[in-house]
Amino acid sequence: MSKIEPCSLEELQNWVNSRIETQVPFRICGNGSRFVSTISGNQKDIPGDILSLKKLNGTRFFDPDDMVVGVEAGMSIRTLQGMLAEKNMVLPVNPWFPDSCVGSVVACNDYGPNRMDMGGLRDCIIGIEYINGKGELVQAGGKVVKNVSGYDLTRMMLGSQGGLGVITAVNFKVLPRPVEPHGMFGIFRNEAWLSQLKELRKLRIPLNWIQALSTSDSSWVLGMGYSGNKLNRDRIEGEIREVFGNTLTIQPDSKSYSGQIFTPGEQRFTGFLPSIRDVWKMEESHFHVFATLPTEEIFTFPFETFRKANFKIAVHPTGGDIHFMHKSTERKEQLQHLEKIKSDLIHADSKLRWVSSTPKCSFMDLGKFGVASGYSLVKRLKKHLDPAGVFFAPYYDLEFDE
């Protein structure tokens, strides 16, 4: 196995061209934050060469007045968010691994709890640069926030899992940081919060995020983020209390949630995500998939059985997805967990994704649940755009009748 880390776009393009010429496939990784050296045992012909974009991490432009930024694919989301924060701006995307690079986050179409009301990557991405299956450097989209000039190749590359080309740079529109972010938090001994949330949703109040986490003592922590001036927040807090009673605690930004197992971190805007992994002591080898499904199915999902079976669960109830984590590391056990989850996903639209490729299980184990509708079309598109078959991505390799 060899790892290639080009230092310039030209070096990268030359290397990709050499692979296309010789039709030798390779894998792409950014900072390696969620990339494991082996991809489960049921994968054949895994390429030995790994292309890392870690060194292509510059800023192409940052125009705070226009609220647009363009960065190279190897820059980490943490670095990007830091740069934006200096200008009181934010990209409303909080991937599970903050050190994931921008290219990886775009290729996997990651998002976070803010997806609900502030949009995910597909709502923020305005331009892209990538090396295509002919080894050419393609630029699509632009630096403006509204653009219908030609095909939206930018969104085509979003979620492409590295299978349609090598993403080298991405342009985003960003948002002002929310005004005075706050959160309301509460502990629940059972799943009663689900029906309460359903009632809250009927009130149509604007929340930045909702997140529920199972705790080690088999209960739940529920958090809801919101922002705005005091009158606005008072109204939101009042509405939430109408539904949940007076048991929830209000926490402004930068205040820690002391004395609890779960701390939401310093910033209310990002929910619990920054600290969940540490608190749960979850490792890369552990079982961790998430399901995206319509809101209604989340409200009726049988969480109790999973909670009692020692799963760690994170739920973004509206929007919406469920993360299932378990400390099991053996393939057989992990597959059993997977089958259990599949059997409880009622609707055909429900989809599953690994948060990272684990050494024991892979994308292939997800089967039909791991791909979007229109999968056969996507497979054909992959063949059309990558005729040399160099952009290795198991996403495109499943065989089944749709």
Partner: protein, 493 residues
């Protein structure tokens, strides 16, 4: 032109006699869309009523290698539904069923022939609306909106069509039915739904759409800033955004447009103002007044001589009517106008507006401006007399120079009208040959024989060099730019 007898009988077998039309009145009616004076009669018009019928006629067209174009309400402004090459038009008006409203998931599933505004009318009393609101929303269909990725004044806060479509059912040019997306927000794999949205009907014909519903704002506050300088009005826009406030809309009208709307609609805009800026804030009622006070302060700090606040719904409606009917009002001060659509980085607004004025002056014509200031989406209106050939030619030159300027300042050719026929020849100015070739390669994947909506979006082969020089290709079948300029006259967008 009309259907050959044997082909016609096969269409009749699939659709029934009343839904296959190739009489002269029909062919005349369907010769163009909102780009009114560029015309090309279709071979005929088909009116499928079900997805099975749609797929069957497409398979037949594919079998006979006849090109075809989908059409909604025909309100498009870039010629996207003009049947070049005598294509058959597939009229989607019969797909107007509201299939399902799902309140928990906040979605509505509709046919592509449903009118944009009707979606909101279906759900408004339940506290929801469909956010993208192009000015033609009383007439345009949701299918056309998806094809063009339409916008509207409220896209600053709420986003454009692609942000509000969660799933589609589509028939590919060979008749295959595919489904993309669904009722939830995240899907694995490439975002083909995003790719198809805005592809101007060249990838497939959409037969069903799942739209996202947005909660109605509890309250809206509309402010009108009055300025003695366009530059100051632009600074107000930046100042509001810098303060972390994203209004629902920020729309600007310049002095010329103000004089037109005052003549036509009398909204009470001061005639001595150089510009007015409409700022609308919406959301929960609580705290909105405080936010409006902040915005009012910012407007004054950045040069607004006066800020009026709509005191009731009637006053608010009056302001919005002036904005939405501003293009039509131009008829009060000029016999014809040519509207452009382009986007620039918001911070470049003052410079670009100065340049646009200078371009107009250089050629001896006036250019009015009314636009979506919050997202830098300009709509320069070049005023000319259609009866005067010299002015027609000048307006054409001005339009070209404006487009060149938008690109020079890091902007793009279209923010919401699309490329269609109108701007196809300018695409090579905006994108590299490689990038354009990649777009065409994607079109080849979906539409390998180019039977579906041919002649749109891309420059004619070999024309790039001529286009870059700003010279219309000779004998170009796609665009007669003089006609094009005239075609834009009097169209309200």
């Amino acid at each position: 032109m009309s259907f050959e007898k044997n082909i016609r009988s096969e269409f009749v077998r699939i659709l029934g006699k009343e839904w296959v039309k190739d009489d002269q009145v029909t062919l005349y009616t369907y010769r163009c869309d909102g780009l009114a004076l560029y015309t090309a009669p279709p071979m005929g018009v088909l009116f499928p009523g079900t997805v099975q019928e749609l797929s069957s006629v497409i398979k037949l067209l594919n079998q006979y290698k006849i090109s075809f174009v989908a059409r909604g309400a025909g309100t498009g402004l870039s010629g996207g539904a003009v049947p070049q090459e005598g294509s058959v038009i597939i009229e989607m008006a019969r797909f107007k069923e509201v299939h399902e409203v799902d309140w928990v998931n906040r979605t509505i599933t509709v046919g592509p022939g449903v009118i944009n505004l009707h979606i909101t009318e279906n759900v408004h009393s339940h506290g929801y609306h469909y956010a993208p609101d192009p000015s033609s929303q009383k007439a345009c269909t949701i299918g056309g909106n998806v094809a063009e990725n339409s916008g509207g004044p409220h896209t600053l806060k709420y986003g454009v069509t692609v942000n509000h479509v969660l799933g589609i059912e589509m028939v590919l040019p060979d008749g295959e039915l595919v489904t993309l997306g669904g009722k939830h927000l995240g899907m694995p794999g490439p975002d083909l739904l995003g790719l198809v949205t805005g592809s101007e009907g060249t990838f497939g014909i959409i037969s069903k759409i799942i739209c996202r519903l947005t909660p109605n704002p509890e309250k809206a506050v509309t402010l009108l800033g009055i300025y003695t300088s366009v530059r100051n009005a632009c600074e107000s826009v930046s100042s509001i955004i810098r303060h972390g406030i994203i209004p629902a809309a920020m729309e600007m009208l310049d002095k010329i447009t103000i004089s037109a709307v005052e003549k036509a609609l009398k909204p009470g805009f001061p005639l001595d103002a150089e510009a007015v800026l409409i700022v609308e804030l919406d959301g929960l009622a609580d705290g909105l007044d405080a936010e409006a006070e902040t915005v009012e302060k910012l407007l004054k700090e950045t040069g607004a001589t006066k800020v009026n606040r709509a005191q009731d719904e009637a006053e608010r409606a009056k302001i919005w009517r002036a904005r939405k009917e501003a293009f039509g009002a131009i008829g009060q001060i000029s016999p014809s106008y040519y509207v452009q659509d382009g986007v620039i980085p918001r911070s470049k607004l003052p410079e670009v507006l100065d340049e646009i004025t200078a371009i107009g002056k250089k050629h001896g014509l006036t250019v009015a401006n009314v636009f979506h200031a919050g997202d830098g989406n300009l709509h320069p209106l070049i005023l000319y007399d259609y009866e005067n050939p010299e002015e027609v030619e000048k307006s054409h030159k001005i339009g070209e120079e404006i487009l060149e300027d938008l690109i020079k300042f890091g902007g793009t050719l279209s923010g919401e009208h699309g490329i269609g026929i109108e701007k196809a020849e300018w695409m090579s100015d905006l994108y590299s040959e490689t990038s354009l070739a990649n777009m065409q390669n994607v079109r080849v994947f979906f539409n390998p024989e180019n039977l579906l909506n041919p002649g749109k979006i891309f420059p004619h082969p070999g024309r790039c060099a001529e286009s870059k020089a700003g010279t219309p290709p000779p004998n170009l079948s796609a665009v007669n730019k003089t006609k094009l300029v005239a075609a834009k006259s009097g169209i309200a967008v």
